[in-house]
Amino acid sequence: MCTCLCKTVRSPEGKLSLYCKGADTIIYEKLHQSCKKLMDVTTEHLNEFAGEGLRTLALAYKDLDEEYFSQWKQRHHEASTTLEDKESKLDELYEEIEKDLLLLGATAIEDKLQDGVPQTIEQLAKADIKIWVLTGDKQETAENIGYSCNLLREEMNEIFIISGHSPEDVRQELRNAQNSMKPNGAVNSLLLFEDMGKHVNLIKDEVADGEYGLVINGHSLAYALESSMELEFLRTACLCKAVICCRVTPLQKAQVVELVKKYKKAVTLAIGDGANDVSMIKVAHIGVGISGQEGMQAVLSSDYSFAQFRFLQRLLLVHGRWSYLRMCKFLRYFFYKNFTFTFVHFWFGFFCGFSAQTVYDEWFITLYNLMYTALPVLGMSLFDQDVDEMWSFQHPQLYIPGQLNLYFSKRAFFKCAIHSCYCSLVLFFIPYAALQDTVRDDGKDVADYQSFALLTQTCLLFAVSIQLGLEMSYWTAVNTFFVLGSLAMYFAVTFTMYSNGMFLIVPSAFPFIGTARNSLNQPNVWLTIILTSILCVLPMVTYRFLLIQLCPTINDKVMFKVRQARATPPPPPRRTRIRRTSSRRSGYAFSHAQGYGDLVTSGRFLRRPAISRPSSFPQVGRATTGFSPMGRSAGYSPTGRPQNAKVQDVEVTSLQMYRTITDRPL
């Protein structure tokens, strides 16, 4: 497969020429004999460039004869419209015209990974997120990318390369990989389990003994994605820590994502920056587009978009996590407060002849969700944080509860319902027993319906407000104002509605006149309120405290550390630099074919200090990433030229910048 890009142009004077660019090995094959000397010189230059880690291309041209070209064009048109054997006919024609080119020279481009890509990938791996790379580049390029961004590591036990050219070969290679990863696992039976009611087989998560990587080529992937082999492929891939698919077409990218979505109980996120990533972004659960030099195609079809890959870390570990936490707390609390509110009517039914008489004042029922409990819940779901962003970055394991769906599942909902049931029992029967046989201190009535309604609704509001206070773990000024303000609002509105003025305006709408004034001045009533609040809230406190003592979650452990760090500030962090002794470490990728392997392994260009692992001490400094850039990102360049001082601006780079030139826009 020839991989060079050719273009025919007509100069202003009317001369027709063919220009060609491509990898040097390919171009050299098409050159005219007369270019031999130039070829040697160019080869020397290319070696130098490649030695400095630049991306090289060779350029050649040829003048075309008008007649010959028009004839060739005719034949090209025939070949492209023929129904059979179009590919081979076109290939023949291209071979014919790309002959005897004259060498122009070589170019070398410096191509960098974006800042922070290796660190991001490492953090996400710690958060138990599996990362697969789907690229259109060649295998060597993709492998280099894998090493340079920490996906493939030297410590990995083995890296499997699947590049079979027939279905059987691919299947065999996959099986071999599986066997080495899981020697005791049954080969033929896939571990499947039925999802309730959906009749879709899902692949369970398995753990391989050791760390493995998988590299699979596009043509092998085409076989692996067939329905007879896809489960096998998926199983093998999921056993590996890192998967790199190279030479994939945009369609195959989407197919791989779909495969994971279909057979694994996982949420998929696809991130890319070019138009060839659009299908993948659309298919995944969450699509992220990187805006940059490639244009806005990926951005326009994505759910989230930002400019640099490293922002993914913040998106997932900080904002995603907080969002999940807030959503779950909000849902749990909302169900709790409404269930409690409603179950009380159930108990009252036994005492009012099941006539559907409400326990509360009608206005309270209207305003409960609208005014008295709306703002506190809103405040909690806008501002709540369990740990702040710095700690979120340092402990990516905090992301795992979200993956396991711990905070709001059927179990959590059931627990919430039980809690509501208990609270409703307390909220009805304590006021019932306290009021039913008593009177005011001056002998007048306090066991009437209206006083009971007022008492119960006040008890309810106190209980749910205190419960909200327990749920909230981040009391900003806004939250405090909302909670206390809502309680104050309740009393203000109640006293207003039960006043003489409102009654005289619309007597039938405000029948509770005088109730607040006559019952809330009784110590009896307030003692009941205090007792119900204690009985509703303390079991929850006990349960939570016991859980923290007996089986603390990762959240509890991190919050404990936060407290300790606040109490005793940690010693200033020592920057440790782990010297990596690998010979294949590079911070940039090559798109050359064979011939430069020696160059890479010689280590000649590895003069700079290696990228260090991020230290585990709390970093002081930029809160955005928490890591200071090293290596190339810090401004070091192997060519000795000064790097751009402004590293923050978005540069050309992206993970997917490398592509093989297979298109023929003739």
Binding site: W322, F351, C352, G353, S355, A356, Q357, D388, E389, I430, A433, A434, Q436, D437, T438, V439, R440, D441, D442, G443, K444, D445, A447, D448, Y449, F452, A453, S473, Y474, W475, N479, N500, L504, P507, G514, R517, N518, Q522, P523, N524, L527, L531, I534, L535, L538, V541, T542, R544, F545, L546, I548, Q549, L550, P552, D556, K557, M559, F560, R563, Q564
Partner: protein, 353 residues
């Protein structure tokens, strides 16, 4: 949008770096640690126990006598009489005797009570017209449809006060007599005024405007509720401040009870009388009851209660006992939590990753 500075250039659309927008607001992050939770629990247990003991002592100082007189003594005959609705117009009176061992010191309150009478039934509670009892003239002869079927009588004459609540007003009356010795009887004076909430008597219930007419004339064109023996303007003809809609017995009855077993204030001991300045002395008492209210239809019972009060209310042992029970539960929980913390979580040994 009123932004103070107009940003331009490549960073024009960057959001503000304020603490609010970047979620860096200063905040308090509470956590359930041992040295906040455990002392709190112990303190709360102590407070609840003290409260419980104090309330118990307070409640123990009240004195109460309850008498179920539905079929007691010769009230049984009245009970049987009232079973037959055709004898509703006949009066029936009976006597109930009781004695007090210890004098009731202080104010004594006389209540009548009903058992199994659901004043909290929804349709029953809706069946009233607050605007009519407020004295609004447009509603006097035009009661609200909620009062149906107690809004107009068979001839279409509007009923005042309309509705099922007023219709079922309690109409037994009681007279208390003290027997210091075999031969002597002293009637016990009961104040029948000042029994209602201030807002009820003065704001919620008002008579229709009379304008130099008599009250009876103001109620012209309406008739009394079907189950009543007297029209509303004859409830207390001697006392114009207790007549008509502002009659205290009516007001007290119209304030529906929350539960099927309830008691309502009937009278307060008049301690201006020489014999009863200190309260009710010990000895024998009789109550003469004019037995009118039939209760067998709903398997109800009728009760008479005499009680003294404290700042805490009547004799209701529930709250003191509840506080004591709560305090012991909290103490138990606190001990369990302390053990759990001591064994598992002390010095953060459960927090190692």
């Amino acid at each position: 949008m009123g932004k103070a500075k107009d940003k331009s250039g490549p960073l024009a659309r960057r959001p503000d770096n304020s603490a609010f927008k970047q979620q860096r607001l200063p905040a308090w992050s509470p956590m359930l640690t041992a040295n906040t939770v455990l002392p709190f629990f112990y303190l709360l247990a102590l407070i609840c126990m003290l409260l419980g003991v104090w309330l118990l002592l307070t409640v123990q100082s009240t004195q109460e006598i309850k008498l179920d007189y539905t079929e007691l003594g010769n009230c049984d005959q009245c009970f049987q009489l009232r079973k037959n609705v055709s004898y509703a117009a006949q009066t029936c009176s009976c006597k109930v005797e009781f004695s007090i061992d210890r004098a009731f010191k202080g104010d004594v309150f006389f209540y009548y009570g009903l058992k199994n009478f659901h004043q909290n039934l929804r349709r029953y509670m809706d069946s009233r017209d607050d605007e009519q009892t407020l004295g609004r003239n447009n509603k006097l002869k035009n009661p609200s449809s909620y009062c149906e079927p107690f809004a107009k009588d068979a001839e279409g004459v509007p009923i005042a006060p309309c509705g099922a609540v007023a219709n079922s007003m309690f109409n037994d009356s009681f007279t208390l007599t003290y027997h210091p010795s075999r031969s002597r009887t002293i009637p016990v004076p009961l104040l029948r005024k000042g029994l209602t909430w201030y807002t009820d008597k003065n704001v919620k219930f008002r008579n229709p405007k009379t304008d130099n007419l008599t009250l009876a004339a103001a109620f012209e064109g309406t008739r009394q509720p079907l189950y009543w023996q007297k029209p509303v303007y004859d409830l207390d003809p001697d006392n114009p401040t207790n007549n008509g809609f502002i009659n205290e017995d009516l007001i007290i009855w119209m304030r529906e009870a929350a539960f099927p077993n309830f008691k309502k204030l009937y009278g307060i001991l008049n301690r201006a009388d020489a014999s009863f300045t200190k309260g009710l002395p010990k000895g024998n008492y009789t109550i003469d009851i004019s037995y009118n209210f039939p209760v067998q239809y709903f398997q109800g019972r009728k009760v008479v209660v005499l009680t003294t009060l404290t700042w805490f209310g009547g004799q209701n042992h529930f709250l003191p006992i509840a506080y004591l029970v709560t305090s012991s539960l909290i103490l138990l929980m606190a001990v369990v939590l302390t053990l759990a913390w001591w064994k598992f979580g002390k010095d953060g040994k459960n927090m190692k990753e």
